[in-house]
């Protein structure tokens, strides 16, 4: 067992414990803080598993932006969550245990690629080609296709350029959708919950038509 493996196992266990904590807590503020910790832990795991670019993104997104967005939503909505009904929770537990057991059984298949094994199909198919095309390695004198050392950037922007274009468009669309949902003027409805919502909708519609 190397140090790397021990760190990996410890971090993964902490991640699972944080997830259990998130599932059990009802105070949404505490849940938000725990989900920030969860992101930070997963970013650390990504560093241990050599995915520095991913870790970078996860740290900035999870600990920074997601937390701010969740806090903003909490400010606009409720701070405390109710538990589901007992029947609901029991049903969910049955589903989860059955599915989790089935997945666990599936991992015991001898064909399942072991962690860190360099001979698995995932390692032998296209990745070596990407690594070879990028920068001349040691003694090889083959022509270079892309001259930059960070293979992740190469694959992201060049080999999978269409894919990344699609992702960028998704982010653009999500931004526009949030703007449409929350950006326009808020209609007059700052009152107690439990009021008859149907009576208010017509008034809202009239107010919306005036804008």
């Amino acid at each position: 067992m190397t140090v790397e493996e021990i760190i990996n196992i410890v971090l993964l266990t902490m991640l699972a414990l944080t997830a259990v904590g998130i599932a059990r807590l009802r105070n949404l503020f505490a849940v938000t803080m725990l989900s920030g910790i969860y992101s930070l832990l997963s970013a650390s795991i990504f560093v241990v598993l050599d995915a520095v670019d991913v870790a970078f993104t996860e740290a900035a997104v999870g600990a920074g932006i997601t937390t701010v967005l969740l806090l903003g939503t909490l400010m606009l909505t409720d701070r405390e969550a109710r538990d589901g009904s007992r029947a609901n929770r029991a049903g969910a537990m049955i589903v989860v245990v059955a599915l989790g057991g089935a997945l666990f059984y599936a991992t015991l298949d001898p064909m399942m690629p072991r962690f860190g094994d360099p001979r698995t199909p995932a390692q032998t198919h296209v990745a070596p080609q990407y690594l070879k095309d990028t920068v001349p390695q040691g003694s090889s004198k083959e022509p270079v296709k892309v001259g930059i050392p960070n293979v992740v950037t190469t694959v992201l922007a060049s080999y999978r350029g269409y894919d990344t274009l699609g992702e960028t468009v998704v982010i653009f669309t999500a931004g526009i959708a949030v703007l449409l949902l929350l950006g326009q003027r808020r209609r007059r409805r700052r009152d107690t919950p439990g009021q008859n919502p149907s009576g208010n909708k017509d008034a809202d519609r009239a107010a919306g038509a005036e804008d």
Binding site: A60, L69, D78, V146, N150, A157, S158, T164, F172, A174
Partner: protein, 158 residues
């Protein structure tokens, strides 16, 4: 406003460094870890931090909402436009090899330009989302930072 004194001073020191680091990550993504997605998120985090400390109005003056909306679309335009440019220069869509004197150089330029577009879209989309949420809180009469004061008042007992 006095009780945020430490945060304001530290923020003033930290935010330029955050933005500078984002630029480093953006344009050094070919040699080290980094790229458009990471840089965009860090850039947006810097602006959001500024907005949380100095208020939404100040941030709106620094980075006006019309500019944000423009940049969200402009980043996608840069990305898609690079593809068109490589088509005009006689290659396939998003094949950057023709953009430079050699194929490797062209790929390098193309990747930098495309990553810049990605970073622009990601950063401004995140700031746009922040504006939408924070502006919503403003209309209900609450400042974005003050979560505690509102805690007792806004509890529905349903």
């Amino acid at each position: 406003m006095d009780h945020h004194f430490v945060i304001r001073v530290v923020g003033k020191l930290l935010i330029p460094l955050v933005l500078l680091f984002a630029l480093y990550v953006q344009f050094h993504g070919d040699y080290g870890p980094g790229g458009g997605f990471q840089a965009g998120v860090i850039f947006a985090a810097g602006f959001i931090l500024y907005g949380l400390i100095y208020g939404l109005d100040t941030l709106r003056r620094v980075f006006p909402p019309w500019l944000v909306r423009l940049l969200v679309a402009f980043g996608v335009l840069i990305y898609a436009g690079t593809g068109i440019a490589s088509m005009i220069l006689g290659s396939k869509y998003l094949d950057y090899s023709v953009l430079g004197p050699t194929a490797a150089k062209g790929q390098h330029y193309g990747i930098l330009i495309v990553e810049f577009g990605v970073g622009m879209t990601v950063a401004s989309a995140m700031v746009l989302i922040f504006y939408s949420f924070a502006g919503r809180g403003r209309q209900t009469g609450e400042d974005f930072g003050e979560i505690d004061s509102e805690d007792r008042r806004d509890r529905p007992d349903g």
